[in-house]
């Protein structure tokens, strides 16, 4: 019995709809069932294969090791590879001269695969292939490189001072920010610099490349974007895309880190395979992964905001500067999304938000779950958290008053559809979390405990779903029905743990009216479904689900014709349910899906189809930053309670409550998993995870000092909320999306702002009422200690002044 079969015993909650629209669910739908991950049984037994596990099944594999530069920036004046060949087991050194095509690992052509100028500490200068990993490593150590160090920029402050920027600078504006600020009763200004985040997918970057007969390249790769990996491998090798096939079995986590970053590593492996004729494996160890691959962008924000006497925002002016690192990568769309989310869930009538990308000598920062959304939203949440005490309002009240309401639109001109869901989610959450009683209990607790304080905070999320770039909102699928009625599906999305494949099996089983066990899903590969978009922007299920349903509908329509003849009814009256095909109403004849497939074959009816989906109604003017780039918004709110030790700043999360809108869930266990996991990952970014570079002028300038699990701390069991309630928002059908569902991958990460705000509240409680707390991000125990110490000291100073 597979995990999916077992899960069928789970609850079924859907009611039948009239068939027709994409959002409608037939009776007996397999979507909506609470199923475990389709590969759970393989995960727990160690049977699930990841890219690097394949080397044990491949003979003659060569191993790759990089030569990493020890400078933040330097010219390479000489590169002597010969000593590497004196090392036993070294087979080949790969350098720029070996590249037959374009020496570039990106799509912007600003990322040389083999650089002549080192742009960050740890930049790979060349690669060594060895019979063993150890031989490749020793070969790399033998290579002699001469460097001429150049001046480098390590911090946002340095980059801004020297006006080191890259890419477009964009502005979102609406109304008149200056007038809005001038009319305000209360005006505040501030600056805020906050850190990035390492993806720390448990599986590091990994590729295995083989060359078939006639130069056909086959690359197995841990990639969220097989089509782009294929394109970049092709341009590096100077071949057409049809000569390269990329396959991704599954990833051990992606989180955006494998959207752009795998391409160069795959290209190195492919280049090695073509030059040696042998399979080449490239797997980064953790240190290499952390020092070479891009991360979430750190940002700096400066802002000025105005409020009226009721605490309503009258105007906001802000400048966001992201730290893009050494090359553009995805920095431009990340910045665009940050600007598009600076409003979070709040109506800002007058706004002018500028964005720019600093160029520094760090890893090239890239996509990370939320893709700039978190960086835009943290700015407004930080502002509201700091300003609430100054306005004399509880933060909960200030936030609630400013939530979007009916008829309003975003600063980029998109109407905010269903804003009533925000208010409803907010009140449901306060109710489910027993907020008033807990707030009262917290006040008692804080009064009784001089050295320990608790904080309780609620924050909302409104996150736009769709790629900002309209063209990416398309997907393809390939569905085969075999003569025995079994179904094989293939789609362009990749599985990184988010449960996409589970959902896609449910979609296919629902659309074809067959049992889950009749559907098998084949690994993602570019020779099955071409020209795919990255599995990113939370859109995997929306897009690929739409494409699979389209393919299944085509097949089902053809089968209905065959069935109609067999059952002697009109094709429109044929019903497919759990592998049985019959007629509408009380029709007394039925045949099995397998019999029908068999019959269709003998009538020469095609049993397979290519499906396609494009998200309708999107438009976006990237220069003016206006349009309707998003199909819809995902909504949610979260409430966190924390307890802070006044001696040390150490804290724990006592409880978290969440109400989140996933539309009508395709797969509730999967969706709850995404919400919980996203929340904890977001809390990690905001509280614990701290990237530190050596910014001094010593010999290690530019070195990432947190380049290991021992120095870069992710949430462990001790960071899980001790009590954790997640509620899916009910009766939430989203029209126009596959089976009425909503995307879930990214939005929950931003639910974690409540944790940071609860820490701010707790720190403030060490001072007198009305204390405004400036809290660093990440809010490590040290940061919380300095914040509460300042609150405490302010209190002492105020009392002294008062006497």
């Amino acid at each position: 019995m597979t995990a999916l079969d077992r899960g069928q015993a789970g609850l079924e909650v859907r009611t039948p709809h009239a068939t027709g629209s994409l959002a409608d669910r037939p009776s007996g739908a397999k979507v909506g069932l609470e199923l475990p991950h389709e590969a759970a049984d393989l995960h727990v037994t160690g049977a699930a294969l990841y890219t690097d596990d394949l080397i044990m099944r491949t003979s003659g594999v060569l191993h790759a090791w990089p030569v990493q530069a020890p400078h933040a920036r330097a010219l390479i004046t000489d590169l002597r590879v010969k000593p590497a060949y004196d090392v036993d087991g070294v087979v080949r050194v790969l350098t720029a001269e070996d590249v037959p095509g374009v020496n570039d690992a990106g799509i912007k052509h600003d990322e040389p695969l083999f650089p002549s100028e080192v742009m960050f500490h740890g930049h790979a200068v060349c690669w060594v292939l060895g019979e063993t990993l150890d031989a490749a490593r020793r070969g790399a150590e033998a290579i002699e490189v001469d460097y001429e160090p150049l001046p480098s920029l390590m911090t946002l402050t340095e980059a801004i001072e020297q006006e080191s920027f890259q890419g477009h600078q964009r502005t979102i504006s609406r109304g008149d920010a200056a007038a809005g600020l001038a009319a305000a009763s209360h005006r505040f200004t501030g600056e805020f610099e906050f850190g990035g985040q390492e993806h720390f997918y448990l599986e590091t970057h990994s590729s295995l490349a083989l060359v078939d007969e006639n130069g056909q390249i086959f690359v197995q790769c841990s990639t969220q974007h097989p089509s782009e990996t294929q394109e970049i491998v092709a341009h590096v090798l100077g071949v057409d895309s049809h000569a390269v096939t990329v396959q991704c079995l599954r990833m051990g986590g992606g989180f955006g880190g494998k959207e752009m970053q795998p391409h160069g590593f795959a290209a190195i492996a492919a280049l090695g395979a073509t030059l040696t004729g042998r399979p080449v494996r490239l797997r980064l160890n953790r240190t290499q992964d952390m020092t070479m691959s891009g991360k979430r962008h750190p940002f700096q924000a400066s802002w000025e905001i105005g409020f009226d006497d009721d605490g309503l925002i009258t105007g906001l002016r802000a400048t966001l500067t992201s730290d893009g690192g050494w090359s553009l990568d995805l920095s431009e769309p990340v910045l665009a999304r940050a600007l598009c989310h600076i409003d979070n869930a709040y109506w800002i009538p007058n706004i002018e938000a500028h964005g720019r990308i600093a160029k520094t000598n760090k890893t090239s920062q890239t996509a990370f779950r939320g893709f700039g959304g978190p960086q835009g939203m943290i700015v407004i949440e930080d502002i509201l958290g700091r300003c609430a005490p100054l306005l004399g309002l509880p933060a909960e009240e200030l936030r609630r008053r400013n939530l979007y309401s009916a008829g309003q639109s975003t600063p980029y001109g998109q109407p905010v559809r269903h804003p009533e869901r925000l208010a409803d989610i907010w009140s449901q959450l306060l109710d489910k979390a027993d907020y008033p009683a807990r707030l009262a209990a917290l006040e008692v607790f804080n009064a009784e405990h001089p050295h320990t304080k608790r904080g309780l905070a609620i924050t909302p999320v409104k996150f736009g779903i769709s790629f900002n770039l309209t063209a990416f909102n398309q997907a393809g699928a390939l569905v085969h029905v075999y003569k025995d009625g079994s179904v094989l599906i293939n789609h362009g999305g990749t599985e990184m743990g988010q449960g996409l494949h589970t959902k896609m099996i449910q979609v296919a089983a629902t659309a074809l009216g067959v049992p889950l066990s009749a559907v098998r899903l084949a690994p993602t590969r570019t020779d099955k479904v071409p020209n795919t978009s990255a599995t990113a922007a939370s859109s995997g299920a929306d897009l690929n689900g739409g494409a699979i349903k389209n393919a299944c509908d085509q097949i089902r329509d053809r089968l209905a014709e065959v069935a109609g003849r067999k059952l002697n009814i009109h094709p429109a009256d044929v019903r497919f349910h759990d592998g049985v095909v019959t007629g509408i109403g009380f029709h007394d004849r039925e045949i099995s899906f397998a019999e029908l497939a068999h019959a269709a074959y003998f009538q020469r009816v095609s049993l397979w189809a290519a499906g396609f989906y494009r998200t309708e109604g999107l438009h976006w003017d990237a220069e003016r930053m206006q349009g309707e780039p998003f199909k819809y918004f995902a909504y949610g709110a979260a409430l966190a309670e924390v307890e802070v030790d006044g001696f040390t700043g150490a804290y724990r999360m006592v409880r978290a409550d969440i109400v989140h809108d996933v539309g009508d869930s395709l797969s509730p266990l999967i969706d709850v998993g995404q919400i919980e996991g996203g929340f904890v990952q977001g809390a990690g970014w905001l509280t614990l995870e701290q990237l530190r570079w050596d910014t001094g002028d010593g010999p290690n300038r530019g070195r990432l000092t947190t380049q290991a699990a021992s120095t870069y701390k992710l949430p462990s069991f001790s960071e899980m909320p001790e009590t954790f309630h997640v509620h899916l928002y009910e009766k939430a059908t989203e029209s126009g999306v596959v089976y009425g569902s909503k995307a879930v991958g990214e939005p929950p990460l931003m639910l974690a702002f409540c944790v940071r705000e609860a820490l701010r509240q707790a720190a403030a409680s060490f001072g007198p009422p009305g204390t405004s707390v400036d809290l660093a991000s990440p809010a490590t125990p040290e940061a919380v200690y300095w914040a509460l110490d300042a609150a405490r000291t302010t209190g002492v100073a105020d009392r002294a002044a008062g006497t």
């Binding site: 899960g7 475990p36 037994t45 990833m251 001696f647 949430p715 125990p781 200690y785």
Partner: protein
């Protein structure tokens, strides 16, 4: 001479040509068992966890013990029994731990999962785990099911998973899977196996391209070998050396496995002193002492992770001499002494005198640490304050340990303070000790002592914390101690 071999998932596999540099993880994956994963190669993430059979204190029975396979040399497992996720169950026949993890959404990307399953299995089989076998709720909304946030109703100790990181789930479903486990079935072969002793260590030498791994039969043989090869690497739990092997590509021509030498595994709780063998693992000490030394009981849950404590030894923590080893301030506050052995005999040195500089100690190259001796009586009031970013499994930025004795008149009769992370070596805070001795133990005294303690040591700025924060934390520690001891006295107990 017999062929060196390891029993993996019930089948013996020849160890092959492995010196001390091939880790168990690499060896397992190289033999085709790719279920065990490398996540960090430094014992922090637990993706590599496997279970090994270890002897119980009585020697008659044994326990499945989870360890990081990325750190331990494969050669150290010669003759031993290892079980990986593949050996616990198969997709067609899941182990109870695997079933709970699968159905509750305990895996998303699945990469950390085999390691979690192994850590969880070791706790599943732990003798005396106890508790009722009631399962956790399966609704989305879940209360933490036990009164204690770190133990399940089935007695499952969440600290068993403190060395496993998951980046996908947020841990809640994994906790629910752990708390839903029932007792092992009487017929469960891994359960019944623990009624019998673990395999005896096999004194042998294995040879690889970079050097030898030797497991001597006795301490005398070890000391003789060490006298002839003072550069040899002494390897007990390999929790520090394994990191050097993997990340710094350190290699030793000769590695000497000392983790199973009886002479280094003494355990004696006497009237005047407690003697702890240098090669007892921290978990073994934790289990056997069962709270007998409250300061150590406070230390253990904060010392790295269960996976590390299952391998790490006090001898190792003292042998590397790192200023941030968490046991060192505690042992300083306990006024511990070390017994050092060599071919010329044994000598005892006070720990307070042992450290001479950054990773420098009084130990000669031909000596090894035999045991740690804690004098009795123990101070009645003790505390261990560890400052770190994360509560589970993190390295201290500052650690302070106290042993405090108050006179009947409320003055400080005696105090011993050990601090780590404040200088190139762990320190006794002698100035603070002198300041406090004889003074009334009051809030004002604590405030004044805070300034003295804050001035001891020369903390630095690094990625873990700023020097200003470290200094502030030294001072705050004394204030916190006062509040803690005050509360403890009011409750009529001791910390």
């Amino acid at each position: 001479m017999t062929v060196s071999r390891v029993c993996v998932n019930g089948e013996f596999r020849p160890l092959g040509e492995v010196g001390g540099e091939i880790t168990l993880l690499d060896w397992l994956r190289g033999s085709g068992l790719t279920g065990t994963k490398e996540g960090c190669a430094e014992g922090e993430c637990g993706a590599c966890a496997v279970v090994v059979l270890r002897p119980d204190a009585d020697g008659d029975s044994s326990s499945w013990t989870a360890i990081n396979s990325c750190l331990v040399p494969a050669a150290a497992l010669d003759g031993q029994e290892v079980v990986t996720a593949e050996g616990l169950g198969t997709p067609a026949a899941l182990h109870p731990v695997q079933r709970e993890m699968a159905v509750r959404g305990g895996s998303q990307c699945g990469y950390c999962t085999p390691g979690f399953v192994c850590s969880m299995a070791a706790e599943f089989y732990r003798r005396g785990r106890g508790g009722s076998s009631a399962g956790a709720e399966t609704e989305h909304a879940r209360e933490a099911p036990a009164a204690d946030h770190e133990h399940g109703p089935n007695g499952f100790d969440l600290h068993a998973l403190s060395g496993n990181l998951c980046r996908c789930t947020g841990y809640r479903p994994i906790r629910d899977a752990a708390y839903a486990l029932e007792d092992p079935a009487p017929s469960d072969p891994l359960h019944t196996r623990t009624a019998d002793p673990a395999p005896a260590p096999v004194p042998a030498t294995t040879t690889g391209p970079f050097g030898d791994y030797v497991r001597p039969a006795s301490l005398a043989e070890t000391l003789d070998l060490l006298a002839r090869h003072p550069d040899a690497k002494l390897v007990a739990g390999s929790t520090d050396w394994g990191v050097d092997l993997n990340l710094k590509h350190a290699r030793a021509e000769l590695s000497i496995g000392i983790d199973r030498l009886d002479e280094l595994r003494t355990y004696d709780v006497g009237a005047d002193a407690i003697t702890l063998g240098a090669a007892l693992t921290l978990s073994e000490i934790e289990t056997r002492l069962a709270g007998e030394v409250p300061l150590l009981a406070a230390l253990f849950p904060q010392f790295a992770s269960r996976l590390i404590r299952n391998s790490a030894t006090l001898g190792g923590n003292l042998g590397t001499g790192s200023p941030i080893g968490d046991s060192l301030p505690v042992l300083l506050a306990l006024d511990a002494s070390l017994v050092l052995g060599s071919t010329v005999g044994e000598r005892t040195v006070r720990l307070a005198d042992y450290f001479t500089g950054y990773r420098q100690t009084l130990r000669r190259p031909d000596e090894l640490i035999v045991s740690v001796v804690l004098p009795r009586p123990l101070a009645p009031l003790t505390a261990f304050h560890k400052i770190a970013k994360r509560r589970f499994d993190d390295i201290s930025s500052i650690a302070v340990a106290y042993g405090l004795t108050l006179a009947d008149d409320g003055t400080v009769a005696q105090v011993m303070i050990g601090i780590g992370g404040a200088a190139a070596t762990p320190l006794r805070a002698t100035a603070t000790e002198e300041f406090l001795t004889g003074r009334a133990w009051t809030s004002e005294t604590a405030d004044a002592a805070a300034a003295v303690l804050a001035a001891e040591g020369t903390p630095m700025d690094d990625h873990r914390a700023s020097s200003a924060f470290r200094t502030a934390m030294l001072g705050q520690s004394v204030r916190k101690l006062f509040v803690e001891t005050n509360e403890a006295q009011q409750l009529g107990g001791v910390a």
